[in-house]
């Protein structure tokens, strides 16, 4: 009898060990290993040439999905578009009920982007929180999220966007990233060479725009130069009009 119990216990222990080894790594453990961001600060003394504007091709190899996406993304992004993929994933969480402001900030911190919150409130039209990042992932920039607060006190996203570097394939890469990161995406409701828009099921839209010089003028938050023509913006917003 004792031998039988000992054998059973051994089998159970063996099964448990196998299950443990096969289980996905908890996100909290993965988080500490991943650094998608480039060094956010560069010593002036160390650089022979100005370090500004690194090409995305020289992005440090992130090779793994964001922590919150770990264990469920079958297609590991290539280094050149890993930043785009990470930001696409951030925007793609908009439809998930658990996607909170705190979760967003933690994701941005985890990827080394140094989020900053600006709280703009007044007694007549309430609070708007703006989230920006100080150290965007290479090849991306100007992350911008606007949160409003509903009558029950819950914050919700009204607008969230980022920009991706100009390039011959940038538009198609951004479109592909949206298609990968937004679950259950239907066909675009607008599809032009420079603009694609999808409707989501939850009063939001998502769009990708190849920005022309005229689109980059007069932005109240972002600074642009002539070389920025062709910059890609990816945005999620509450819908106002239908098509």
């Amino acid at each position: 009898m004792k031998k039988l119990i000992a054998t059973g216990a051994t089998i159970l222990l063996f099964v448990f060990i196998i299950q443990y080894l096969r289980a996905p790594v908890p996100s909290s453990q993965v988080a500490g290993e991943i650094d998608l961001g480039s060094p956010s600060v560069t010593s002036a003394k160390e650089t022979a040439t100005p370090p500004v504007r690194e090409p995305a091709a020289s992005v440090p190899e992130p090779s793994r999905p964001l922590a919150s996406n770990a264990g469920k993304t079958p297609n590991v992004p290539k280094p050149a578009d890993s930043s785009l993929e990470a930001m696409g994933h951030t925007l793609g969480q908009i439809g998930q009920p658990a996607f909170s402001l705190k979760g967003l900030l933690e994701d941005l911190q985890r990827t080394g982007q140094q989020p900053l919150v600006v709280r703009d409130d007044n007694p007549d039209s309430g609070e708007m929180l703006i989230v920006r990042t100080k150290s965007p992932l290479p090849g991306t920039r100007y992350f911008h999220a606007q949160y409003f607060t509903d009558e029950s006190g819950d914050r919700f996203v009204q607008h969230m966007s980022f920009e991706f570097k100009p390039g011959a394939d940038s538009m198609s890469e951004a479109i592909a990233s949206v298609e990968r990161n937004f679950a259950g995406l239907s066909r675009p409701v607008v599809q032009r060479a420079d603009y694609v828009k999808w409707k989501l099921d939850n009063h939001y839209i998502v769009w990708v725009k190849k920005m022309a010089a005229a689109d980059l003028q007069e932005d109240p938050f972002n600074s642009y130069s002539l070389s920025d023509d062709g910059t890609i913006r990816v945005a999620v917003e509450l819908e106002i009009h239908g098509e």
Binding site: A44, R53, V117, V190, P220
Partner: protein
């Protein structure tokens, strides 16, 4: 000792009013919190700030205290460190739109660029508009089609059971969008919809209006907390990326009896409960201004 620690943190952060760490927002530790609009200025004790080249060796130009600044991001690293007089500074790249010379972009110590509200003495005082009996239609010319019909009208059906919360006043891109009466800008431009912006104004009498789908161009003398008079240009009619519609001013009006964000979830308009139908008011202002109405 430890039970006093949170109060000490609150006291310190309240006192500094700049780069505070979240106390009441439940932000993750280390996330920087600033207050006010996303409107950066040069914040220094001296009269001017040196703006340097990329090597941080040469001063390109100087900017005055409280000048507007726009931090630049350029798809790569935009932060440098340099030790000056034994103190290590982090430098960031910024544009200074008010500079008159050809070069408007350079490198400055990060600590000296903060939101206007976080900079003592830089905040614009709130100017409450005097009561005004004057009300006017918010576009320069009559809308090209009626705002009482079709998808333009208030309460028109949208997808997923949502109802249209505004009247859409079709005009032409770049034409002035006007204040319907005197008021104060309570929220300066923010991203609204498909490449357009919105601005919010509290009007005399307590009504709050959202002027949506305008361009990013700033109208003269329009900024947060600035007062406006009836008919003053607030912004310029914009056009959404999709080209779904004629350029328009998307006009929303609220009685001012509720509080909180104008956009909401949980009702068919997805708007605050004091949203009002502006159609009759617009019609009256239209007749007054143009002698006729739709």
């Amino acid at each position: 000792m430890f039970k006093w620690f949170p109060m000490v943190v609150i006291a310190i952060t309240t006192f500094t009013n700049h780069v505070v760490y979240a106390v009441d927002l439940d932000l993750p530790v280390g996330v920087e919190l600033q207050t006010g609009a996303l409107d950066y200025v040069v914040c220094i004790n001296a009269a001017t700030l040196n703006v340097r080249d990329q090597a941080l060796a040469k001063v390109l130009f100087t900017v005055a205290k409280h000048s507007a600044a726009k931090p630049v991001q350029s798809f790569g690293t935009d932060r440098l460190k340099k030790t000056i007089d034994g103190v290590e500074y982090t430098f960031i790249k910024s544009e200074f739109p008010a500079v008159t010379g050809a070069v408007k972009v350079g490198w400055v110590a990060e600590n000296y660029i903060v939101t206007r509200s976080s900079c003592p003495g830089a905040n614009l005082p709130i100017v409450v508009a005097p009561p005004s009996p004057a009300w006017t239609f918010p576009t320069l010319k009559r809308p090209s089609v009626s705002y009482k019909d079709g998808m333009r009208r208030f309460k028109a059906n949208r997808s997923n059971g949502r109802l249209h919360a505004a009247c859409d006043l079709y005009r032409v891109t770049g034409e002035d969008a006007l204040a319907v009466t005197a008021g104060t800008v309570i929220r300066d431009k923010y991203y609204f919809y498909e490449g357009t912006y919105a601005i919010e104004v509290k009007h005399a009498g307590g009504k709050v209006a959202r002027y949506g789908e305008i361009t990013g161009k700033t109208a003269p003398s329009i900024a947060l907390n600035k007062s406006v008079r009836a008919g003053q240009t607030l912004g310029y009619v914009g056009k959404v990326n999709s080209g779904c519609c004629t350029p328009m001013l998307h006009f929303e009006l609220y009685s001012g009896t509720a509080s909180g964000s104008l956009s909401q979830s949980g009702n068919s308009f997805q708007r605050r409960k004091d949203l009002i139908d502006p159609t009759l008011l617009l019609s009256g202002w239209e007749k007054l201004k143009f002698g006729t109405s739709y």
